[in-house]
Amino acid sequence: MVQAVRRIVIVGGGTAGWLAAGVIAAKHRSRIPASFSVTLVESPNTPIIGVGEGTWPTLRTTLSRIGVSETEMFRKCDAAFKQGAWFARWTTGAKDDGYYHPLMLPQSFSHINLVPHWLARDDGRSFCDTVCPQGRICDDGLAPKTIATAEFEAVANYAYHLDAGKFAPFLQQHCCEKLGVRHVLADVRRVHLKENGDIRSLETEQAGEIEGDLFVDCTGFKALLIGETLGVPFVDCSDVLFCDTALAVQVPYETETSPIASHTISTAQSAGWIWDIGLPTRRGVGHVFSSRHISVDDAERELRTYIGPAGKDLPFRKIPIRSGHRQIFWKRNCVAIGLSAGFLEPLEASAIVLIEMSAKLVAEQMPVCREVMDVIAARFNNTTEYRWGRIIDFLKLHYALTQRDDSAFWRDNRLPETIPERLQHLMLLWRYQSPWYHDEFDRIEEVFPAASYQYVLYGMGFRTEVEPQIVAGSANNAERAMRENIAQTEKLRAGLPRHRDLIRKIVQHGLQPV
């Protein structure tokens, strides 16, 4: 007699917990409640951390699968559009140094690699502007769609900036009212194990004992189940990514009609960088830095200088961060999703996308019975470890490419012993061949597509050798794609509304579902 997996118990009610609940419950909707249950146990006392306010376009698919309304999300989560990131002063540190990492793919990306053609032209135009319209759209402060575009559909690819503190309750309401998720407000007092080492149940303060077949640890940095109970060690990666402290602050807009940036602004400092995320109601700004390279006082001074007079009396919140992840993510009948699995600096908004991907993997590969769970767990661990590795590589790439010499932080970041071997190999390869489509990346559902590597590499002045014959062979196609880009850029700049105006319209009129 096999031991069926029917009772999923999620511990923790932050972004990770509710996203996991939504993704799993939506996927197994037809089995609930007859032969499947999703229970989320949340402490009534623990505050939600609310990781990063930046997301990836994957969230559109995730939310539409869960079945929430995009309009409602704009109304309830203070959401705004995100079309990429602007990295200022990362390459040389000069005042006018900056580049976009947009979310749209380069023109005709699946047909032609425009990198060698752009390099061969060497005409002074940025890579981003040569291959995609989104940098210009962001410069103009435009939204990525219009009020007549259906929910979750894009004219220009987009993700969201949102208030994570409002996002979790928004998901909670949907999960409980529409997806049949059981919500239990209770503090976990003890975790009971079976003789074989599996988790049998949670003993709670207010709701008695809660049994489960599969437990999802979304308890944040505490890692109650995966860490404290099952003892899975934490793999530190501060030798690669140096930032270990963040100072966060909420900055009000000057007026209610001040423009909202539709991209994340990331400005490099002397020993870290400052994020600047525009919501309709406020800006979320923070300084992520390496305390080994700068004192907290100096870091605070740099942040105050960045914000200017608007930040005069605003209180800063200090958040210690520990870069790294669990050695494995699924052990026995427990899988960690969210901060319990690990954390990395929010340079490319990887936190929420990783939650989505992990939850999707659990939902889709949901083990039918305990007997096959270890097989699924091994698969999950393999994929998830690969993803963390690729995120670490991609974040490190931003540092490894810098030419800044003005502080030990930037110099240390280029030391070969701080650069993962795989990334070193890729950087060697890219000196002769540019990354494209599926060249380097063999897995489906890569966290960052090859296009992202192109935008960062060539945004930061990286040079790939170009063989003239190769360029000549596809010159006509490249020419056409670049012309197409100019035409599309003009069309979009003329037709898209201002970012704040569209958000106001969405809140007022709503987007249609089709």
Partner: protein, 227 residues
Amino acid sequence: MATHELLNPQDHAHLRLLPRQGAEPHFVQIVPGEFVSAAVACPVLFSKDPATGAFYAGAALGLKPGEGALKSTQDRGGFEPLALQRDGFFIAEDRIAIDRSNPRFSETEGEPLFDSAQQPSTALRRIQRALRHLHEGIAQTAALVRELMDLKLIEPIDISLSFDNGERLTLEGLYTVSRDALRDLPDADVLRLFRTGHLQLAYAMTGSLNQLPVLAHLRNRRLADSR
């Protein structure tokens, strides 16, 4: 420049009404009461108000902006959209306003708006009726859209037409009722849709798509004639 005035027998005793002037628009808003007569002559589709994103219904009289209608009113079986009938007249609160700059108004030619007793003339009463039907029809459209949306029956339709001169027209931002989704409706929903009268409207819309190739054919012929 539009100059709006509230219509009244004192100021407008001598005003006269000519037939609508100028080319017909290629796409004109219609209301559910017009669906059946419109659908036999031209495609009836949904589009979105660019200011609010809200759906409205319309009849495609032509295929390209600026080119006007492809069929005459007579070829349309006499179908004349209310929105065109009332051209120059508007509802302002509970009164009628007119746009004096509209060329159909004249002091010398056409039918008078008021009779000698300062009562609305036959011509004006016809306009009043059109305005009333339009006004009521907007609310009926909203109810229709609401029910069709609730049943997930509205779907975008991409219309791409090639013409003999090599031109390719893509009509964007149009929506219709999904035939498949209609067919898959549970019985209870079908019955409700029938009782509200929306089922007939839905089928009028799907059937009217047959008019697309007819319009394309007419346009092809027109292109050939003008060569």
